[in-house]
């Protein structure tokens, strides 16, 4: 175990969760998706979050990224506490500090590649720095596609536009929710390579939810989640080690389910 899951108070911390809980549903049919998760991630790290389906990994990501409100606990991004205020305040908080990459890309279909990538800058009221956005897009291998619409691109290309969109604002943390889930193996490798370079060459912080051990092996470390709780972590993961741990977690969950029934 390294120091990542402890709670350091240094200024090099990009993300910090303190006893985050998320309960869905009303009385009677309540489901606890997150059961007091505490976590701290340093700047410039690439972390994968893994767990069996229903373990709460997507909920964790959404709560940490301000897309959903935790039922309890606190979230700090780059030292600032996520406001519990209105949807508008939360949106503005997200805009400044967080980038998000989705499984289904979620590009705006009526904007072209360059417009999609510069949208976060426009929203933040910053002058759309076209040259920087163009640089990032070129880095993503999309330099000759700037005027194309998302529907004219392959899945891999669309995801690279989404990565560029997340990078242009230089956010404190980039969250990626199964970013390779809708891609073929080759495109997936490209996307993961780009995320890795963003961390190691440009100092970004990336948190990625995935169920794919190979994808997780691109990360610096893997955090495991089971039944809404942290269930250990793995440094410098290999695909085999991750797969083995996952099988173990799956078995444990299945056994518990059986005894409950």
């Amino acid at each position: 175990m390294n120091g990542q899951v402890t709670l350091p108070t240094s200024g090099s911390e990009a993300l910090r969760l303190v006893s985050v809980r998320k309960v869905y549903g009303t009385d009677g049919t309540q489901v606890t998706a997150l059961d007091g998760v505490s976590l701290s991630l340093r700047k410039g790290t690439f972390t994968a979050v893994m767990g069996p389906s229903g373990s709460g990994k997507s909920t964790l990501l959404q709560c940490a990224a301000g897309l959903d409100r935790p039922t309890g606990g606190k979230v700090f991004v780059d030292g600032a506490e996520m406001s519990g205020g209105s949807e508008t305040e939360l949106t503005k908080f997200r805009r400044r500090r967080i980038g998000f990459i989705f499984q289904q890309f979620n590009l705006l279909p009526t904007l072209d590649v360059l417009q999609n990538a510069t949208l976060p800058l426009r929203l933040a009221g910053r002058k759309a720095d076209r040259r920087y956005a163009r640089d990032v897009l070129t880095r993503m291998g999309l330099g000759d596609r700037l005027r194309h619409l998302p529907a004219e691109l392959s899945g891999g290309q669309q995801q690279r536009v989404a990565i560029a969109r997340a990078l242009v604002t230089n956010p404190s943390v980039i969250f990626a929710d199964e970013p390779t889930g809708a891609l073929d193996t080759r495109s997936a490798r490209e996307v993961l390579g780009l995320l890795m370079r963003a961390v190691h060459e440009h100092g970004q912080t990336v948190v990625m939810v995935t169920h794919d051990p190979v994808a997780a092996s691109y990360a610096d470390s893997v955090v495991f989640l089971a039944d809404g709780r942290l269930a250990g972590e793995l440094d410098r993961p290999t695909a085999e080690a991750v797969a083995e741990r996952m099988t173990h977690l799956g078995d444990r969950t299945a056994r518990r389910d059986e005894t409950e029934v």
Binding site: Q62, L67, D68, E87, T88, T91, K92, R94, R95, F100, F102, Q104, N106, L107, L108, P109, T110, L111, Q115, L119, P120, R122, L123, A124, L149, A151, E152, R165
Partner: protein, 452 residues
């Protein structure tokens, strides 16, 4: 397929609500006017009254028929289009286009039957109301007994059913034919370009309107209120022509307004301009009822004002025929208002549902709920402006020739009050519905909306 049709109907009762409502309205309207025929055929109805009743029933009822087909087609097309995913799925598991078409037609037939039956009671009440209106305005003799019989039921149910099936076939043809890859391409390249057929139809209706306008101003000059026969329909044809040209109008005007809009409205305006330009074809469906409403209402109302002013100026007293025509004009306007409103609300709500995932994506990127709302308002303003200006142009095609024919002056000496009232109604309907639908969209958490 019949079983599937019924099951799918039960699961999306909400989606068919707009279709059902417009069918009930249409059926009730047609039945109410057709009941005047039943009444006219009654024993002891004097022949002059009989003529009035039959004229009223056929003229206004005929317009009703056209409006029923129009509104049912518009609502159905949207219902069908919204189900693109479901149909693609059915195709994948092996349903032929024919089978899918049959499913939609059966669904529609069931809805039409239910709507026809639901319309009987309101139609009987409306028919009775119409008769008492005609009696009190001395268009027909008092003491005539109201009858609701074979004409009302036969014509009402027949028209509703025929209109519904026709509309279903039209709606299905377009959707079932397009392949998935094709519709994707359309989305990619923007759909502002119009098909050759649509272009030809637009030109045809505009030329028809122009030639009728010339006829009114020249051949009908000095023929008194007879000029209404050509003048009255002119604004309708021009409105239809302009509505068909909608995609091009939207594309051009938005391109021209892009810079000033973005300067004033910031990011929401920027997003709207991009959206409207790429989706001009789809938004033309929303523009259509606004143009029809403004164009026909403005044209007919001003024409009647010119007529009344001219009659008053000549010192003559309006004859019974002229009075009947006035009542007819106002009845047509009334029906038109109701139908345009249904069509407009329906297309707007459907468009918003369609856009739900798009607004959700905007919000995930960091667009605040307030900004999403502003994009909808900017869109509504663009559509309203385009609609009321086009409508005014269409209205002028009736007003100017009629004024020339009746008074010799190109422009009538009547204030802009009526037009402003029509514009206000169009604006309230468009913006009210748009904002209402948008507010509902915003309430759904973005993460949920996008995965739905």
């Amino acid at each position: 397929m019949f079983g599937l049709a019924l099951r799918s109907l039960r699961h999306r009762a909400g989606g068919f609500l707009a279709t059902f409502v417009s069918m009930v309205f249409g059926a009730a309207m047609v039945m109410a006017f057709a009941s005047l025929l039943d009444t006219a055929m009654g024993d002891g109805v004097p022949s002059t009254s009989r003529t009035s009743l039959v004229t009223m029933a056929t003229v206004v009822g005929g317009w009703g028929l056209i409006m029923v087909v129009f509104s049912v087609t518009s609502t159905l097309t949207l219902v069908v289009r919204q189900r693109g995913d479901e149909m693609a799925l059915l195709k994948q598991v092996g349903a032929t286009p024919m089978q899918i078409g049959r499913m939609i037609v059966v669904e529609t037939a069931v809805v039409a039957l239910a709507a026809g039956l639901a319309a009987i009671l309101p139609a009987a009440l409306a028919g009775r109301g119409l008769l008492s209106l005609l009696v009190s305005s001395k268009r027909v003799d008092g003491g005539i007994h109201f009858a609701f019989g074979p004409y009302a039921l036969g014509i009402g149910l027949g028209v509703t059913f025929t209109a519904a099936i026709t509309a279903a076939v039209i709606a299905v043809r377009g959707t079932v034919r397009t392949r998935a890859a094709e519709s994707l391409r359309n989305a990619a390249t923007g759909d502002a370009r119009m098909s050759r057929k649509r272009k030809a139809a637009a030109v045809f209706f505009l030329v028809l309107g122009a030639s009728l306008a010339v006829t009114t101003a020249t051949a009908m000059r000095g023929k008194g209120s007879d000029a209404m026969q050509t003048a009255g329909q002119t604004s309708i044809w021009v409105s239809i022509g302009l509505a068909l040209a909608g995609p091009v109008l939207i594309g051009r005007v938005t391109a021209a307004l892009a810079r000033p809009l973005e300067r004033m409205g910031g990011v929401p305006a920027y997003l709207t301009v991009q959206y409207v330009r790429r989706r001009a074809g789809r938004l033309a469906g929303t523009l259509m009822p606004i143009i029809l409403f403004t164009g026909i209402a403005t044209g007919t109302l001003y024409m009647q004002s010119i007529e009344n002013a001219a009659t008053a100026a000549s010192g003559a007293v309006a004859t019974a025929d002229e009075k009947t025509i006035e009542t007819l004009n106002f009845t047509v306007i009334g029906m038109l208002v109701v139908f345009s409103a249904i069509m407009l609300i329906n297309t707007l709500v459907a468009a918003m549902t369609y856009r739900q995932s798009e607004s959700a994506r905007q919000r995930l990127v960091g667009v605040t709920p307030g900004q999403v709302l502003r994009t909808v308002i900017v869109e509504g303003v663009i559509l309203t402006l385009l609609g009321v200006v086009s409508g005014a142009v269409a209205g002028l095609f009736t007003i100017v020739p009629y004024s020339i024919a009746r008074t010799g002056h190109a422009l009538p000496d009547i204030g802009a009050g009526t037009y402003l009232a029509v514009v206000a109604a169009a604006a309230v309907l468009t913006l009210g519905t748009g904002v209402g639908a948008a507010l509902r969209t915003i309430r759904v958490p973005a993460v949920e909306a996008v995965t739905r």
